[in-house]
Amino acid sequence: MEHGGGSGGGFNRFYKHAKSTSGLSIVYGGSSNSNNSNGFINNTASTNNGNAANSNTMPPPCTVREQDQYMPIANVIRIMRRILPTHAKISDDAKETIQECVSEYISFITGEANERCQREQRKTITAEDVLWAMGKLGFDDYVEPLTVFLNRYRENENEKTSLRAEPVLKRGIDYGSPIVMAPPYGQPGFHVGHHQGIFDGATAMGGYFRDGSGGGAGGGSSSSQASLTNNFDPFVQYK
């Protein structure tokens, strides 16, 4: 039975990703893995029987690690490649490690957000809880760009539902400039940890404030005061 997992000898670590098309990974016991607080279906010490794993016919009792515990590796790799130089290579192990780290990150943040919900006796984890948890756990640099992202997402959703109801020009928002049909942003150029290129969250679809003064509409823009004209050509698409 070909799992791709029998790499011969040394089962002192998990072989995490068998080459199968079913989306399941076969994990052979063999590591003295201790913790797992984040709910992975994972091999634990109770199924640890590493030495017996050397047979190549019927593998010993093994734990099936489902791929849906992780982000799809292709997506992870795609994001990595955006950061790395073109000539960079990534080992398969590193890809898997980062894949696991992402899931750990989600669990980590969610756990904290969930605790807050419980303290406040709420049942639903909201986006605000997630953002709060990130700030609390040290990911402050993410909070602002994520807030901007979330605001834009919400505006998009509002736009979809209200577009049919009234023209964009008459959203009831006092525009400081005559630009009302400005397209979204050209080249945002987002950098982790930097404010450059991060916009004052536009408070209305199709409009933005050149002087950075956020309007009240649309619910709490972010506080970023980066220049909105940075890298812009507002009419690049809407001629």
């Binding site: 950061i83 960079a88 639903t124 984890i125």
Partner: protein, 114 residues
């Protein structure tokens, strides 16, 4: 390193009326959130959306830090050990210390005092 296009696929896909595409699958994110704890009951629709972007930022930061380790070693292949080193060197990634020490077969150097 160019960042152009980072937002365009994710956020502005919605401008034209489409809902996507996010770089990371929302249903999968939701599943992982639910599995993080038995006490997680309900998740708002926006939470996975925030996470999809947050995970992207996270992957980028972790990758970038790992790559800094890689190039110090004058190789061009980012390895698990590089990821582990980056985790150990970054306080923010303390929650990953156990995870990376499980994956790495070789003992890792101790965390440098910060």
């Amino acid at each position: 390193m160019r960042q152009a296009g980072t937002y365009s696929g994710i956020v502005w896909g919605g401008i034209s009326g489409k809902t996507g595409p996010h770089l990371l699958p929302l249903a999968r994110i939701k599943k992982i959130m639910k599995k993080s704890s038995e006490e997680v009951k309900m998740i708002s629709g926006e939470s996975p959306i925030v996470f999809s972007k947050a995970c992207e930022l996270f992957i980028k930061e972790l990758t970038q830090r790992s790559w800094m380790v890689t190039i110090k070693g004058k190789t061009r292949t980012l390895s698990t050990e590089d990821v582990a080193s980056a985790v150990l060197a970054t306080d923010l990634f303390d929650f990953l210390v156990n995870l990376v020490s499980e994956s790495a077969p070789a003992p890792l150097h101790p965390k440098p005092p910060n």
